[in-house]
């Protein structure tokens, strides 16, 4: 009873209303955040040891360069030139003079230290908010010295996540088809590299044509299409052991494979008698299940991150368009209705978008649309490009583009490119050879 009265009293209590002026800030600049990345400092003993082990004069500088390159490529950060720094890196790591860093327009600062401890490389780093004058994050990693590049990637992931709020995508790998030779006699090999183009390794010898490699969720297995003995079939390859096997015993061509989000199934197309449909195969019990059953060409299936839906492309409407269905094949629904042909749909790891290749009036586009088909945005346009693959955080797409090598339209080159969802940050991805059919792994360190 008393509480009821108190409640009524509280409501009746008049408050002095005062007009607080409110100003809505709905615009800002899209300039990358200026960030200072100092060279990671080292003591003399550690410097000597690392020089012997890694043949690098200044491993601290090398790691900070990995970090800077990663940040720069995101388009979200602007790493400042080290020549402008006013404070020494070792002192800054202990206590930065924020006014000095603010003077060179840095808004964030990364400092760190590398030491040689028990035959291992130990890196500690700190991220500072220059304008607020406070530490935002401090972490340390210990690993074998050979892993120094990975340490740079892991630090980038942490910094990126702290400053953008979303997971990074730097401690990842990309598998792709490395290409060499003239177009009519192309040698194609499976290759794997770090996302920044370093540490390339070739997984096949190039005796057979290989296409569309895809990682499984743990990044240990790869499924791909190989023309072994001129019969195109889906294969499974264990990256660590090098053992490979044919997926399923299909009496015809299988292609466009992809893992399910839990890694237990492979979804792919199977073509026979001019018709192709979508199938899954359980990797544990090898049970094959037919998902679509339509006289048209259904291909390029891709699971949604929760495994409940599948997007694919089909020409059942007369033109190649994107469709979405439940994972058991029911409730097929067309989602693309724009002009042109749509193909290679890939569901975003975030689950909110589907990336695709579009062909319209002789030009190829890489674009995204929402899972209901609305909000189509074309990110990039070119003479020939296709096969987008998402970064694990669903922010960047990697794809390949074929171009002529000179202005006369002679020659031929295929390269990997990346573009983020804004459509502004398009970059060439460094590869040792020509490259196509890229697929992004998930984060190696989770």
């Amino acid at each position: 009873m008393i509480f009821r009265y108190l409640f009524i009293l509280f409501i009746l209590l008049p408050f002095n209303a005062f007009a607080l002026i409110e100003v809505d800030i709905t615009r800002g600049n899209l300039n990358p955040l200026p960030i200072a990345v100092t060279s990671l400092s080292m003591d003399k003993d550690s410097e000597k040891k690392f020089k012997e082990l890694l043949k690098k004069d200044d491993i601290g500088l090398e790691i900070s360069n990995v970090l800077k390159n990663n940040l720069k490529k995101t388009g979200l950060f602007n790493p400042l030139n080290n020549d402008a720094f006013l404070q020494k890196s070792d002192i800054a790591h202990l206590k930065p003079r924020f006014e000095d860093w603010a003077l060179i327009k840095a808004q964030a600062l990364i400092t760190g230290k590398v030491t040689f401890v028990d035959d291992k490389l130990r890196v500690e780093f700190r991220l500072w908010d220059v304008l607020a004058g406070k530490e935002m994050m401090a972490l340390a990693f210990t690993t074998v010295p050979d892993n120094w590049r990975r340490v740079g990637h892991i630090i980038t992931d942490k910094v990126y996540e702290r400053l953008t709020g979303e997971k990074g995508y730097f401690d990842t790998r990309i598998i792709y088809v490395a290409e060499e030779g003239p177009k009519t006699k192309r040698i194609k090999k499976l290759a794997i590299m770090d996302q920044d183009g370093f540490n390339t390794k070739y997984l096949t010898l190039g005796n057979e044509l290989v296409l569309t490699p895809r990682f499984n969720p743990t990044n240990q297995m790869v499924t791909y299409l190989s023309y072994f003995r001129n019969l195109p079939r889906v294969y499974l390859l264990d990256i660590e052991t090098g053992v490979q096997e044919v997926v399923g015993d299909f009496p015809g061509m299988t292609f466009a494979p992809r893992f399910s989000p839990d890694g237990k199934k492979i979804i792919m197309s199977f073509a026979m008698d001019g018709n192709s449909d979508i199938y899954t195969m359980d990797l544990e019990n090898r049970v094959v299940e037919r998902i679509t059953n339509h006289p048209s060409i259904d291909t390029s299936p891709s699971f949604s991150p929760n495994g409940k839906y599948i997007c694919f492309n089909s020409d059942r409407s007369g033109y190649q368009q994107i469709y979405v269905m439940k994972s058991d094949g029911s409730n097929v629904k067309r989602i693309s209705f724009g002009k042109g042909l749509y193909g290679t749909p890939v569901w975003s790891p975030r689950g909110d978008l589907i990336a695709f290749t579009k062909l319209h009036k002789g030009k190829f586009y890489i674009g995204v649309m929402r899972t209901d088909g609305k909000g189509e945005r074309l990110l990039t346009e070119n003479f020939y490009q296709e096969a987008p693959s998402w970064s694990p955080n669903g922010r960047v797409l990697i794809f390949y583009r074929e171009t002529k090598t000179n202005s006369k339209g002679e020659g031929f080159s295929a390269k990997l490119w990346s573009i983020d969802l804004t459509g502004y940050n398009e970059r060439l991805v460094d590869t040792e050879t020509d490259a196509s059919d890229p697929s992004w792994s998930s984060l190696l360190s989770k």
Binding site: I2, Y5, L9, V23, L131, G165
Partner: protein, 270 residues
């Protein structure tokens, strides 16, 4: 039953008391004159403040005028009133001497002399003569009137800014334009989430920030609110980078507390 009635009537009474004391329309308009009187008296008597002298002289004249108007007639000349007033209440000689000492130090004692005397006499009158309370009130009214008069001398723009509750469009635009330049929007944020960061600022008259407070601060440290935290931090950086903020040169009381609502959706949707 009786107990409930007692409780009920107690709380009703409480409501009435609280409402009477705090509801704006029930509160009588405060008379702000007395406090002004006391402050003026202390300052002037303690320091024999010379700059106040001419003002006081005018006040005396006006007060006397009014008194004459009320009591005698409109014909009474101001000079006579001046003389009469000091004569009524005799002043202690010591205090006059005390006041004279600082006068000697002044460079132009002749001009200021008479005015000082009058002021001091006036002040002492006020201090010692309770009958002059009405005059004191009148004096304070004159002070207020003079202030209002001075304000009226301000330019039209300044006058407007005092009367307007919010910022004018041009003032708001200037502030917005400044912050737009300082705010680096984190491009990695999702465009389809409700990410509005409200920051309340306490400002100095020159636009520097005394205090900034995120109104939904609790959201900063909640799990799954990483994007909000990033946006809030970017907004705080923008404020730090921008200060002193481009605020109007007048009307500090209006904008000393300011709320900025940072909303990046428009930009992120592109």
């Amino acid at each position: 039953m009786t107990r409930n009635i007692i409780i009920s009537s107690t709380f009703h009474l409480l409501i009435i008391i609280i409402a009477t004391m705090s509801l704006p329309f029930l509160v009588k308009k405060p008379i702000d004159l007395p406090p002004i009187i006391s402050i003026d008296l202390i300052q002037i008597s303690d320091e024999t403040n010379i700059p106040f002298a001419p003002k006081a002289k005018k006040i005396i004249e006006k007060v006397k005028k009014k008194e004459e108007e009320k009591l005698v007639s409109e014909q009474a000349p101001p000079k006579k009133v001046k003389k009469e007033k000091p004569d009524i209440v005799p002043l202690p000689d010591e205090k006059i001497e005390k006041i004279k000492k600082p006068e000697d130090k002044k460079q132009n004692p002749e001009k200021i002399d008479s005015e000082i005397k009058q002021v001091s006499e006036f002040e002492k009158d006020e201090l010692f003569d309770p009958n002059n309370i009405a005059a004191l009130i009148d004096k304070s009214k004159e002070d207020v009137a003079e202030e209002v008069y001075e304000k009226n001398k301000l330019t039209q723009d300044q006058d407007k800014s005092i009367n307007i509750i919010g910022l004018s469009l041009s003032e708001e635009d200037a502030l917005k334009a400044q912050i737009f330049g300082c705010w680096s929007i984190p491009l990695g944020l999702p465009y389809n989430e409700n990410l509005l960061v409200r920051i309340k600022l306490k400002l100095k008259p020159d636009g520097t920030v005394i205090r900034s407070e995120i109104l939904d601060h609790a959201r900063m440290n909640k799990p799954g609110q990483g994007f909000y935290k990033v946006l809030a931090e970017s907004a705080l950086r923008a404020i730090q980078l921008c200060q002193p903020l481009r605020v109007p040169s007048t009307g500090y009381e209006r904008w000393k507390d300011l709320q900025l609502n940072f909303d990046a959706r428009e930009m992120l949707e592109g």
